[in-house]
Symmetry: C2
Subunit: 210 residues, 2 copies
């Protein structure tokens, strides 16, 4: 498998964690978002949405959208599962994961921030405030959605919500979000990042990291 | 079941379609997004993310996030399925659905547009241009992701991608997007909206529509 990805992309980070948890090996194909490589005709032919990640299977099949890729990987290698078996438990884990993946991440995406700056006169300071606002609001809701006294987000095994959380917290640290209200999330993050599957997936451990 | 929702919310629209496809009856509990009802303490206790929809089951269990709710409904009532059984087919349908649900809708959400206006000096005209930009770009990618010669997005039965498409196209019509490049999508929309499950879910057919 080839993972077309960018080291700092949090959606790429999600897929790297899942590949590692499933014990799948892959080759990283760097897509330099800062130079606009995702908008090249060759890359758009793989991924019409011009985003990362894109997973290219050995037979050439191409998969896009991080959560859809995670669902595929969960079917390909069922253990360890990324979602619980019980339908209600599944829905709760997904709701928390989607709070990150639909409510926080999309509005802080690079293409969004670039457009705020180039088309709407938003300066660097205001763009940062924009990002921190949605992270603070979203992470507060995420934290409220967790059951009490679990090691990871929803129990003793890392699942989809943990994958999305760790990737989002990378961005929160990077942009200097005040994390004082999120002690619970930081404890979970600490326990997750010592797992080899999460540690190997960290942005700074990727071949295209500077 | 009670569906806490807003008639014009496209995420509420998705869940209404799925409930109808599954033959499930429900009571609509209107949440007036324009007056900020979603931010009331009572509603936030149900849904920490302060968004719609929220699905309240007969036993009081509360589910949030439209795609997580759809996954639950698909497990609760497996027929007709919202996703294909084959893992690769599932991933392709989800990738298209997620292009709408993660790349288009979140950045055009009411709370996002309100913040652009109140905090970043974006006027009504520029906010509309913002919305239309992401819709045009996203729908172009969505259209490219579809296989050729299918009745609905991925075959002869409506699935998750169709549900997300119809709801997004409602917004596209509402805001006056130039739909000339999307003839294929409009044909699919026409065929979907004549299905009773889709027709009954239309915003204008809801009890809180004016």
């Amino acid at each position: 498998m080839k993972l077309h990805s960018y080291w700092r992309s949090t959606t790429s980070y999600r897929v790297r964690i899942a590949l590692n948890l499933k014990g799948l090996t892959y080759e990283t194909v760097p897509v330099d978002l800062l130079s606009g490589a995702q908008r090249s005709p060759a890359y758009r032919a793989l991924n019409p949405g011009a985003g990362v990640p894109t997973l290219e299977l050995a037979d050439g099949t191409v998969l896009t959208q991080s959560l859809a890729i995670l669902d595929y990987l969960d079917h390909l290698v069922p253990e360890p599962p990324l979602l619980p078996a019980d339908p209600l438990d599944r829905a709760h884990v997904q709701a928390a994961a989607h709070l990150v993946a639909l409510d926080i991440h999309p509005v802080n995406n690079l293409r969004i921030i670039n457009r705020l700056k180039t088309e709407h006169g938003v300066d660097n300071e205001a763009a940062k405030a924009w990002m921190l606002h949605w992270m603070a609001e979203g992470l507060a809701a995420f934290q409220q959605m967790l059951p009490a006294n679990t090691r990871y987000c929803f129990g003793d095994a890392p699942m989809l919500a943990d994958i999305c959380l760790v990737a989002q917290l990378y961005n929160a640290h990077r942009w200097g979000l005040d994390l004082a209200p999120f002690a619970r999330l930081l404890e979970i993050e600490r326990d997750l990042l010592i797992l080899p599957a999460f540690d190997a997936a960290r942005p700074e451990n990727q071949p295209d990291a500077p």
